[in-house]
């Protein structure tokens, strides 16, 4: 190939991000450019919050960021994290990109890097060692929830936050420092929750969704020949890539669910109708606060929210 993009990534090598998403990205890039551009994946160069600096300064050409790891930097990413949306990660990721183009772009929160995809993992559910059957039982639990909307929802449910990075989740649960975690179904496999958090409390649409972005170095992109830039912009970057990555999030969620069902002693408790109603009320409050935050950042928050809601419903 004429050009090789160096990708810096985190998460375990076997995690869907590295085992499926980057290979998909590579496949799309190679196909669009007839093999003139390819990639090389590098793991463990720096922790997640460092990735944006690395890409900005050219230590890597592309990377993946989880917006919640950098508190204070991203506000608009909270829009897609809100509970209450119904639909797959694929639908959410496509809607997210479209809403970004229309409403979120102007906030310039990714300034300094080229944004090439936005996506979200599947609905985050609660995983605990002791079974949780009602939403009231969440109050008083010590839960590991990432920052952003997840944290707001946890607080609204009366849970106490335990702050550990994802790779430390297993240890934290095994030593009972936390009663549970809120993560998507895929992490039951990816982070071995089947061993330490045998019970899932499942809320349709999840307690939140995590927001991710694929980013690229601006100079590296500018240095590519014009025809390659054009074809990448048209066939890979933006909505096409966001859609494909969203699909993979759905796929690995299925694998996590299958593993749970196949593991003895694991159980999935669906939230009752009444609990779903009660959660809707909580979600409503969180949403109001978050939309206010977004509005303060200069975004037409309500319109953006309505757009995602209707795009997902129509998907």
């Amino acid at each position: 190939a004429e050009h090789t993009l160096i990708i810096s990534s985190w998460a375990p090598p076997t995690h869907g991000i590295n085992a499926l998403m980057w290979p998909k990205f590579t496949e799309m890039v190679e196909e669009a450019t007839d093999g003139r551009v390819t990639t090389e994946l590098k793991l463990g160069i720096a922790p997640p919050p460092a990735q944006m600096d690395l890409v900005m300064d050219g230590a890597a050409d592309a990377s993946i960021i989880f917006h919640g790891y950098q508190a204070g930097r991203f506000t608009t990413s909270k829009l897609i994290e809100l509970p209450g949306y119904e639909g797959s990660a694929e639908a959410a990721s496509v809607a997210y990109w479209r809403a970004y183009e229309k409403y979120l772009k102007d906030a310039e929160e990714h300034r300094g890097v080229k944004l090439i995809a936005l996506h979200t993992h599947g609905p985050a559910q609660m995983h605990t060692s002791e079974p949780v059957e009602t939403i009231d039982a969440v109050s008083g639990l010590k839960l590991r929830i990432p920052g952003g909307v997840g944290g707001d929802v946890g607080a609204a449910l009366g849970a106490t936050g335990i702050q550990v990075p994802a790779p430390k989740v297993y240890e934290t649960l095994a030593s009972k420092a936390a009663d549970g975690v809120v993560m998507p179904m895929e992490s039951r496999k990816g982070f071995k929750l089947t061993e330490v958090a045998q019970n899932v409390y499942e809320m349709p649409g999840g307690l939140y969704r995590g927001s991710f972005a694929f980013i690229m170095n601006e100079d590296i992109f500018a240095d590519l020949p014009a025809d390659i830039q054009k074809v990448l912009e048209e066939e890979v970057f933006g909505e096409p890539l966001s859609r494909e990555i969203g699909k993979i999030w759905d796929e690995i969620d299925q694998a996590g669910r299958a593993e749970t069902e196949a593991t003895e002693g694991n159980a999935i408790n669906a939230a009752s109708e009444a609990d779903q109603k009660a959660f809707m009320a909580i979600a409503e409050e969180v949403r109001a606060t978050v939309l206010e935050e977004l509005a303060a950042a200069g975004v037409d928050a309500q319109a953006a929210y309505d757009m995602i809601k209707s795009e997902m419903a129509a998907y």
């Binding site: 600096d53 106490t160 702050q163 420092a177």
Partner: protein, 168 residues
């Protein structure tokens, strides 16, 4: 000259005290966090981010001191050889000056990165402490280490009598 070095030694007690305090607070905080969480079911939510800040403080406060007191981990397999040819002092001078000078660029970069974090509004998760403060602190600590290394290297060359520890 000797008065200046004397003053530097006296002042160096301050960062040591800061580092010791950070470590002690880290120990007490971890203890309290576990007890509060286990017995009273109310952990210190900000314990993790405070741990991170306290570690940066304890590691970098004393960095200038260990940099100029042979505190860095090094391989001494060839010490005998250097002594034999009476090159130890020259070697130590070069090592200190080289190490000090080479720190200039990382220091500059840490400064840039910290100010970038400031520009983006990065804060800690629970307490909302701006992260660039930690970055500034690290910039200053590594910067002082660089200057101290160069000064020590020059002392090795021109005024070894001012060095409390003879070159080993």
């Amino acid at each position: 000259m000797s008065a200046l070095i004397h003053l530097a030694r006296r002042i160096s007690l301050i960062p040591v005290l800061v580092a010791c305090l950070a470590l002690f607070v880290l120990m007490i905080m971890t203890f309290c966090d576990v007890i509060l969480r286990s017995v009273f079911n109310s952990p210190i939510e900000a314990a993790t981010e405070l741990t991170r800040i306290l570690m940066a403080v304890l590691v970098f406060s004393v960095l200038p001191i260990i940099s100029v007191t042979n505190g860095h981990i090094a391989v001494d397999l060839t010490d005998g050889l250097f002594q034999k040819f009476r090159l130890s002092r020259l070697r130590d001078a070069i090592i200190h000056i080289l190490a000090g000078v080479m720190l200039y660029w990382p220091v500059e970069r840490v400064w840039v990165l910290s100010n970038r974090a400031r520009d983006y509004g990065d804060v800690t998760e629970y307490l909302g402490i701006p992260t660039f403060y930690v970055g500034w602190f690290i910039t200053i600590a590594v910067g002082i280490s660089a200057v101290a290394l160069i000064v020590t290297g020059l002392l090795y060359l021109f005024a070894p009598q001012y060095l409390s520890e003879p070159s080993k």
